[in-house]
Symmetry: C2
Subunit: 272 residues, 2 copies
């Protein structure tokens, strides 16, 4: 008699400094249906991008602990600022598979750029860490990476100013110096930026391919599950539902979550 | 033999969500020279203005504890978001004189407006609390208060975009609806806004008087010290120096502090 083993689907833990990482959660939900998610958005301390590496590391440890306590068996660092400053610390400290929002975008950029001139935009913390440059240079030693911190884009997205003239002008200003540098690929190195893709595309130029780090990390999660059959091909358990936790609950966050998912997302407040 | 008693100058504690409250510290330093200050800026969790009242209350209690532990005998709530949501809680919980950045500006607006039509701008938390409207209506029952949340102005100031075209446009957009309402007084209900006074003035109109809440609270501190001779007229002790603590230390914060004071300010990182 053949024995067929069914495993329960593993729970995917995702954390971010706020609601922006929901673009990652949404992409994972679409690419890996049937896997329950546990999300933690650290809204009480958002944003991370303007804070120091030490502070971001401490916050990232807290967030990882929270996800593990809530059953996560795979951790996705959905916050670029956290991934750029805390990834190594977390990898050393926790014995759980961990994926981050940066590596897949780095690999994709190194792979698809034709002329090797790649732009990266992100928060101040992400850009200052130099992690995209280092990663891309490792993957593709002869490439040239141009990076630009765009600290005002997160507040603009969080205000819902997705089509305002001021947002367009600020994007144009940030991209100005990059425009003359013949880049053919631009990494959106912040999970809020996919919501501004429609404004960034025309302003950087049509020949430039945009890389959405949320989509790339979702693909990486999919590949990881495929490569680990004990975690993939598991039995769907409808009892195990996705949960979305936040350290502070605001109306703006609820609206943004609904906008990202295209449906209302019940956010649960926790004191973690 | 006449006995002359000398008291040591009391230490004035000031807290804010970040560096913005330094405009208050600076105004107090100028108006009450010789009094040592202890400042706490909660940069690790900044900004408060987009967070919920419960979270802001918890943070404000932590900040007050920190200042008391560091010798403060008078507390100034320099953050509008904290003053609007946590003032009553702090007053009930602590038996120490407490002044806040809102009350003096409210009194001044009610006093100087000629037509009783008063505008208030501030963060989302401050405006949503309705504290300026309530205060002004109490002081001057027939007045009409028009208020407007301006959530992007804090990030713009923190980026140092004090003269950029985009900043001017965003200010114009925020003030647009107020312009046709014949206000003659506008309260700058956030400690970051005095740094934008030169842009706000021309955009709201010359006939409108701007009230700088930092200056008003410094005047209130001065009056308090005058009215309490046991705390005022004290002996200057050069050993007791002003100290500026922050929960996170960033370059942006150091630059903004230096800009506000017109001299370098040594910020001390604390884990409070």
């Amino acid at each position: 008699m053949a024995v067929i083993t069914f495993y329960e689907s593993i729970m995917i833990g995702i954390f971010d400094s706020g609601v922006g990482g929901m673009t990652v959660a949404r992409a994972i939900e679409q690419m890996c249906p049937g896997y329950p998610l546990v999300y933690f958005g650290d809204i009480a301390k958002t944003p991370y991008g303007s804070k120091s590496p030490d502070t971001i590391k401490n916050y990232s440890i807290n967030n990882t602990e929270f996800l593990l306590q809530h059953g996560a068996e795979l951790i996705v660092i959905a916050c670029n600022s956290a991934a750029s400053t805390a990834r190594e610390t977390l990898n050393q400290q926790y014995n759980v598979p961990m994926l981050d929002v940066i590596t897949p975008a780095v690999n994709r950029a190194a792979e698809i750029s034709k002329n090797g001139r790649i732009g990266v935009i992100g928060t101040r913390a992400t850009i200052k860490s130099g992690i995209y440059e280092q990663g891309i240079s490792r993957q593709r030693p002869k490439s040239k990476v141009l990076s630009q911190a765009c600290p005002l884009l997160v507040p603009l997205v969080e205000e819902g100013w997705l089509n305002k003239q001021e947002t367009k002008m600020i994007i144009r200003r940030y991209l100005h110096s990059m425009r003359s540098k013949q880049i053919d690929t631009l990494v959106l190195g912040c999970t809020h930026y996919p919501l501004l893709k429609h404004l960034i595309g025309p302003r950087i130029g049509r020949r430039v391919q945009l890389i959405d780090s949320s989509v790339e990390v979702a693909k990486a999660v999919h590949s990881f599950l495929d490569a680990h059959p004990d975690s993939a091909h598991r039995l769907y358990n409808p009892e195990k539902k996705s949960r979305f936790f936040v350290s502070d609950l605001t109306e703006t966050a609820q609206q943004l979550a609904a906008k990202i998912f295209g449906r209302p997302i019940p956010l649960e407040k926790t004191n973690a």
